[in-house]
């Protein structure tokens, strides 16, 4: 049907970015919708599963606006196309998201954090709230926490005219599949991770690495051990300017320590990290995390980043030096919903037998759930 109007994930993102008032009709089943959906500031949602449109029931059309375009979204783009046809026959204006939530989950966009002596690019995967980075200096690049769609990094490197020489994973991820070893294979770059993450792939141990030079001799990325979210969590410091914190410190709070099944023990470690390591870092250093959970964590430049001093100010738990109340609060996050399929993802990221792209997509589907959100 050539008349069916489509919108791509990139176009949809552009509209969301501009803050346009969008009406999204999500036709997946209620459970999938409640679990995970497109996020945006001025978005109005309506969830009517596509199969409800099969019955002759006029009442389901009542809440669909007839004066503005409706963007129909489903899992893979099939049902949404079907519903657009139904809506158009009733004179609604509708378009559908090409490829559905599947293509949304594979959409990435780069934002330049700063372009000075060292250029830092943040690659944002909005469907998962995943962030990765490219640190560029004099024709060389270091990639932090690449996702499995490794072409995205190869494309940026080509556009920037740089060679990827180093790839670092801040920790063994539990919510998405790493692209680290694959990107290293494709580019010939070194792959680094902390040995406490027990990886079963070829790697250089971050715990044995003092610093990684990127291009210019003055550009050094220093691995700082920040265990807690996982035992081998590492942050990457570039001078007094940037700290890439992985899943340890987010704009909105701290990483949860329970995904290894040892919440109480890892919470103690996280306490030491926050009050012995992070506390030594300057207020002005810019925190660049590997995840975000809410739209308000994106700043006016479109970057998910915040000065450490501001994050400390907003999170009483990072200032209050009482070990017990800290570990109690953090361990309580262990009761919240865990990322879907996290055990299988962890085992794959550790170097398990690779899965085909369909299976990988299925495992990664859903929102990110790695943060502890502290109200106080």
């Amino acid at each position: 049907m050539s008349t069916i109007k489509t919108i791509t994930a990139a176009e949809l993102h552009q509209q969301l970015e501009k803050g346009e008032h969008l009406f999204i009709l999500d036709v997946r089943n209620e459970e999938d919708f409640n679990d995970w959906k497109i996020e945006g500031k001025n978005v109005q949602f309506l969830n009517i599963p596509y199969y409800n449109f099969l019955e002759e029931d006029e009442s389901i059309y009542i809440d669909i606006p007839s004066d503005k375009e409706v963007i129909v979204v489903c899992a893979k783009g099939g049902a949404s196309e079907f519903i657009v046809e139904t809506l158009e026959s009733r004179n609604f204006k509708a378009s559908h998201l090409e490829g559905g939530m599947l293509s949304w989950s594979q959409f990435y966009y780069p934002v330049v954090v700063k372009d000075e002596d060292v250029k830092v690019i943040q690659l944002n995967r909005p469907a998962k709230g995943c962030l990765s980075y490219m640190v560029i200096s004099e024709g060389k690049a270091l990639v932090v926490d690449p996702a499995r769609h490794v072409d995205e990094y190869v494309k940026i490197a080509a556009a920037e005219g740089v060679t990827i020489e180093h790839i670092v994973d801040s920790h063994l991820h539990a919510d998405h599949l790493t692209g680290g070893p694959e990107l290293a294979k494709q580019t010939g770059a070194n792959y680094y991770i902390h040995s406490s993450e027990a990886p079963n792939v070829e790697y250089i141990a971050l715990d044995q690495t003092n610093s990684i030079q990127v291009g210019n001799t003055n550009v050094k990325v220093v691995p700082v051990e920040t265990p807690g979210h996982t035992p081998g969590s590492v942050s990457f410091q570039i001078g007094d300017k940037y700290i890439m914190t992985g899943d340890t410190v987010f704009v909105g709070g701290l990483g949860r320590p329970d995904l290894g099944g040892k919440a109480a023990e890892w919470a103690q470690t996280l306490y030491d990290t926050v009050f012995q390591t992070i506390s030594q870092m300057p207020d002005n250093i810019l925190v660049l995390p590997s995840h975000y959970a809410a739209q308000d964590e994106i700043n006016e430049q479109g970057v998910v980043a915040e000065k450490l001093g501001v994050i400390r100010n907003n999170n009483e738990i990072m200032r209050n030096g009482d070990r017990k109340s800290f570990t109690d609060a953090v361990a309580a996050s262990a009761n919240t919903v865990k990322p879907p399929n996290f055990e299988e993802i962890v085992s794959l990221n550790r170097g398990g037998k690779p899965v085909d792209p369909d299976k990988a997509t299925e495992l990664e589907i859903g929102p990110n759930r790695c943060a502890v959100h502290h109200g106080a």
Binding site: R28, N29, E30, E31, D32, P49, Y50, Y51, N52, L54, E55, C74, A75, K76, G78, A79, F82, E362
Partner: protein, 76 residues
């Protein structure tokens, strides 16, 4: 399990398994059983939602090598 109608939706993607099941069940009497065969893993939750909405009853789900069998009893 006995059934009165078979809908083969193997190889078809969403929304076709549910659309075909809906058409198939229209030809049945209340209490009769439709068997749907599908390779679309994602259709299970949708199928459960559709059955609930339409007062049919999902009697049984079987997972076979590479495909699923859903037995649905037509409701009032």
């Amino acid at each position: 399990m006995e059934f009165q109608a078979l809908v083969d939706a193997k190889g078809l993607a969403c929304p076709m398994p549910v659309v075909k099941a809906k058409k198939g069940i229209e030809g049945l009497e209340t209490g009769e059983i439709l068997l749907l065969e599908t390779t679309d893993r994602g259709s299970l939750k949708d199928f459960q939602g559709w059955v609930k909405r339409t007062n049919h009853e999902l009697l049984k789900v079987e997972e076979h090598e590479g495909f699923f069998r859903f037995y649905v009893k037509k409701g009032e």
